[in-house]
Symmetry: C2
Subunit: 202 residues, 2 copies
Amino acid sequence: MSMKPKKIDPRVRRTRQLLQDAFTSLIQEKGYEAITVQDITERATLNRATFYLHYRDKQDLMWQSTEEVLSELVDSLRETTKHAKKADLHVDQPHPVFVCLFEQIARHATFYKVMLSHHQAPLADRLIEVITDYISQGLDEFQPDDTKLTAQREIIVRYTASAFLGVIMWWLEGGMSYSPRFMALQLMRLAIKGPYELSPFA
Amino acid sequence: MSMKPKKIDPRVRRTRQLLQDAFTSLIQEKGYEAITVQDITERATLNRATFYLHYRDKQDLMWQSTEEVLSELVDSLRETTKHAKKADLHVDQPHPVFVCLFEQIARHATFYKVMLSHHQAPLADRLIEVITDYISQGLDEFQPDDTKLTAQREIIVRYTASAFLGVIMWWLEGGMSYSPRFMALQLMRLAIKGPYELSPFA
DNA sequence: AATTATTTACGACACAGTGTCGATAAAACA
DNA sequence: TGTTTTATCGACACTGTGTCGTAAATAATT
């Protein structure tokens, strides 16, 4: 995949790193919207014209940075997949690929954190809040006993709420080919029973 | 909650509506980033100065529009909750609140669609892709038989992938207080068994 | 119907940020 | 070493912003 360990000019590497670092640190402080190219180059102690030697604009910087970090993730996952090809999918035993996923993300934690939560889509954030409330309430009514849960309560809530939002988006993207009632039913079943009709480990 | 059915000047209502409509239609075409206030007022056939009589800037327009649509959703959900207070949480029967959720979203479909998928966070989109691949693959290996699934295959994949991403974000926001291995384990169990230790309907 | 209040239209303004250029200096490479 | 590549600097035209004051249009009030 990434077959380009070309001898890269140290000045270029330095410049790009300075720009990316400045970028992420500024996002933390002001948010993506408020940032200007001037801000970035100033923070990076570089000339503004230098920015345009490497990126077309602010979006391009974000995009390229994303691709870099992500290609590293993909390579890492692919490698792990190869070695764990005997891939046994057991409950109560984390699949190495997903452990790898979390490890990779932890490695670039600040970048992921900033890039994933640069609250640019207020509607998604607010929707998650609303859905979370109902999921949480439903979970409490349905199963007040923590010992009968497969995971931590807080995680379950977030897990389910995010899943709902994701499916809602999928539904919208697909032109809402299914009725609200059908969608709600599918989600209820998934949220309560999980994906498999009869839990093979019950 | 929304106790302000104040006689609102029809000109104001008209202007706001024109601006919001122009805004959403422009997002569909060019994406949020590329839109200028000029574009919006031009599309709305209004003077640019008029825009600033109602909104501080582009972000404010998005934010206010979001709050409007969302408060309608919340009111609607609250009403449904009241009437269905005998709230029986049965599998294979969609909870009225969640049916209501989908219905409300369908009512403002274009707005939700545009606002939720204005791909402003490339990392989230790419991550969903990557995770989706692995979930899909895992599902195929683990259960090739469609009849033993609780929901449509495609929905399960999207459901689970979104859930994973959501939990990852939650994990990052919380400062990564849990080990990658622990997180992977929790997610594996949720993804396979669902939230409850013993499915009470098995 | 006439008057008053509010909203919108219009043109103009200073300002901030953009993207590009040519020329110069500095650093890397071979 | 000399040659190539990269970063710096100042300047440029340009787009878009946010805010005026004034005049026109529209709604609300009497």
